[in-house]
Symmetry: C2
Subunit: 252 residues, 2 copies
């Protein structure tokens, strides 16, 4: 795919609990699918511990390399929630208590607005809010969007992220499912067709099904007409070598 057409994002997942295995991350998958609707490609993802140097290092690399960065995790009220501090330090700015978040928290907690709860109002100078339906917001500064780690809150915040991005040309994806023939046979026609279409990405995702080995052959690219032509060409190439059990699968 021509790089000029690509809008890219890096995803930075912050949290000891993902690296220890305590929690199965499901945020990357949601973010990838969500951004795909806007034609934004997740080009890389990193998972780092709740450690200042790790977070700042990864953030600075990703924000210089990609059009956008989405971070998840570490914006709650406890001492191990250090994402806001790290983002501010990476951008070389201070942290302020955002008046709108303080107002929101005051109306929710009144006299019980503890120092810990106030931590959730901290936003780097120059940042603006990323709202969720219910609960304290995340924020954005520069090309970085800082979201909650709890999946429900993160998903709600993503609704306030997509529309702020420069959108790209949406990738069209078509899948040809082959049953009863394994990759060892499919590889040759697949590669031959792929070589004829260097701007597309052709991939093979094998499975073991009721007819033995099979594979989902995926054709992806930003030129929808070329994707469709390539699928036809691939199906013909497969039939030519005697592959019979072929079916089209919904785009994914």
């Amino acid at each position: 795919m021509a790089d000029s057409e690509r809008v890219t994002a890096g995803v930075l997942i912050i949290g000891d609990e993902i690296l220890s295995g305590r929690t199965q991350d499901i945020n990357l998958n949601f973010i990838a699918k969500y951004l795909a609707q806007y034609g934004v490609d997740v080009a890389e993802a990193r998972v780092v511990a709740d450690a200042k140097d790790e977070i700042i290092g990864a953030l600075n690399t990703l924000r210089s390399r990609y059009d956008y960065v989405i971070t998840t995790g570490g914006i709650g009220p406890t001492h191990d929630d250090i994402t806001a501090d790290c983002i501010a330090e990476a951008f070389g700015v201070g942290l302020i208590e955002h008046p709108e978040i303080i107002a929101m928290l005051s109306s929710r907690w009144g006299g019980e607005l503890t120092a810990a709860r106030r931590r959730m109002a901290r936003v780097p100078e120059g940042g603006s809010l990323v709202r969720q339906v219910q609960g304290p917001p995340g924020f954005t500064i520069g090309n970085v969007f800082v979201l909650a780690g709890v999946p429900g809150a993160m998903r709600s915040m993503m609704e306030d992220v997509g529309h702020r991005m420069r959108t790209g040309v949406v990738v069209v994806s078509r899948t040809v499912r082959v049953d009863g023939t394994g990759e060892g046979v499919l590889a040759e026609p697949l590669e031959r067709v792929a070589k004829g279409h260097p701007t597309l990405a052709l991939g093979s995702y094998p499975f073991y099904g009721p007819d033995g080995y099979g594979s989902n052959l995926v054709v992806r690219g930003r030129d929808g007409a070329e994707v469709e032509r390539t699928v036809v060409e691939l199906v013909e190439a497969l039939k030519a070598i005697g592959v019979e059990k072929l079916s089209a699968v919904d785009a994914n």
Copy 2:
């Protein structure tokens, strides 16, 4: 935790399908839990596309930074399976067809041993095999273990990885579950106890349950006795501020 006691691993997940959202990765979580049994900490994880420069760049960073690297994905027979090529290039060695894998494939496929299937026999010079119960092996070279991306195959290969590692002191983890009290109140005693035990990691993982907001407070460290003492101290600190609904949860 004292770094001298830590054995670390980086995980490199290779595959367009994870970044596009087509596939939900479940390998990182398995690897993290698996290595934890050997006292090996996953210190960082990266997800990269099926692109040579991306794979080599991430691999070289991770293998210089951590004791071990585990990669998943890209070792099948199709043209987009380029992991072996990238590992060989990163180590500055050639690829050979490993005689044991060729023998295995020949006995399975006989005259149908296609060029694509032979690709799965390619191992960097100086590498050795990482076996799975059924199917072609992965390999290891230097401090890098190269595994399949299909979860069943990856898990089977991990059984041939753990015993080859230098083991560390296993991290002990205890969870105190609090129902009906949110992080805004729990943060203060949690931080106070955490500050008294700088070699331990104390974290808070909030949830919304039948009694409203609650949190799992997790105490982790390599000195089991200190972890147990800290849990007692934490429970006392929580009771002292009037938290009533406390329960111990299985280690995780």
